[in-house]
Symmetry: C2
């Protein structure tokens, strides 16, 4: 049962909720951009790649709105403690999501080049890596919207798998190019697509660190990530 007081939504609450809603929307857009960019590589779909490229503007515009919202809250509300960290966290996460949008756009641009050449067997490896990175990004956004530091730690630890997958894909692609120099141009594009995925993984990790910072007020370290005493 709700008391009367709980029904009264203050202007500040409304503003914080709007900020969260914008971050959630930006996260959703970016998640789909990443998924579609990976799909454009796998399915050799240049029309889909083009649509990913076009969507990046919307993501950039959302970052500007989130920054403006955060500025207004700082100026008018003087937020403290957790609220303060939440607003700073919004600025940080919006910066990461904007970069993820750029990186997805980059993958889509590479897809256009890759699709110009012959199909490459290693595109499957990039798709596999893409699935892992997509899952990391989703978990980071889930952690953010639920203030879930345990999920945040899982993302942080999971980034090692992304890095390992990237390193092995990198070596395979180099071998492939040396064996068949005609594939150098499209293999290089595939290499950059993989590198962008690896960096999207880094941004998912940054978001996880921000989730931890909002809840705990301190920096997520190696020891803290592996400390499951509060799991």
């Amino acid at each position: 049962m709700y008391t009367m007081a709980e029904h009264i939504v203050t202007g500040f609450d409304e503003e914080l909720n709007r900020l969260t809603a914008r971050i959630a929307r930006m996260g959703g857009l970016v998640e789909v951009m990443v998924a579609d960019a990976i799909k454009a590589v796998k399915m050799r779909d240049s029309v889909l790649a083009q649509s990913v490229i076009e969507r990046d503007q919307e993501v950039n515009a959302l970052q500007v709105l989130i920054d403006e919202d955060a500025m207004r809250i700082f100026a008018l509300r003087n937020p403290m403690a957790t609220d303060l960290r939440r607003v700073i966290g919004a600025i940080k996460v919006a910066t990461d999501l904007e970069r993820v949008g750029d990186l997805a756009e980059g993958i889509a641009r590479r897809a256009l080049t890759i699709n110009d050449g012959e199909a490459l067997a290693l595109a499957k490896g990039v798709h596999r890596m893409g699935k892992l990175v997509k899952a990391q990004l989703k978990m980071a956004l889930d952690a953010l919207l639920a203030d879930d530091t345990i999920k945040a730690k899982h993302v942080w630890i999971g980034d090692n798998d992304v890095d390992e997958m990237y390193d092995s894909l990198f070596r395979e692609l180099l071998t492939y190019m040396m064996e068949d120099p005609r594939t150098i141009s499209s293999s290089t594009s595939l290499l950059f697509a993989a590198k962008n995925l690896e960096r999207i993984g880094d941004h998912a990790t940054n978001i996880a660190e921000t989730v931890y910072f909002i809840s705990e007020g301190s920096v997520l370290t190696l020891d803290a990530a592996y400390d499951t005493s509060d799991d």
Copy 2:
């Protein structure tokens, strides 16, 4: 002649000055890391490359301190207008500089691989691009410390040259690899070093945008960058 009032430094001023000093120090460290990483590629100096890699920790630690300073100012001082934008600007610039440190570290790691192979003629091209990017980063930091929006606009416009240089280097390196597949491994490392430089250029542009935002309270757009009516 100074009046008494001008001699009284408030706690808030001190805090803002300390924040600026930390950003300046972080900028200086990162500038030298970029310069040394480029030098390590040009001079095939793996010892220097190793020292760049080791310095990245110091940069990361500074970002944490700057974030903490900014948090304290928000919580205790409730900054308004330009002061508010200055503190948010510090958080944004620290994020960019931390990434530039990572990218310089990345170039240094590539240098280690490049130095394992034969010397490549195109290392000169990367060095030339490096000089341009270094100049862009320096101008962005100068603009920041002097609140100079005109310099900020120059950085913004100058990023086109960086992108063009990268695109032509990219094409040359691909051709080089196709002509001599034995160079694929070190050429790919050189390609990634060039890509990191291009991204350092992007971060210099971000810093320039932040300088404009701090002074003007609005986002730097194409029209504004080419508007020299206030130059």
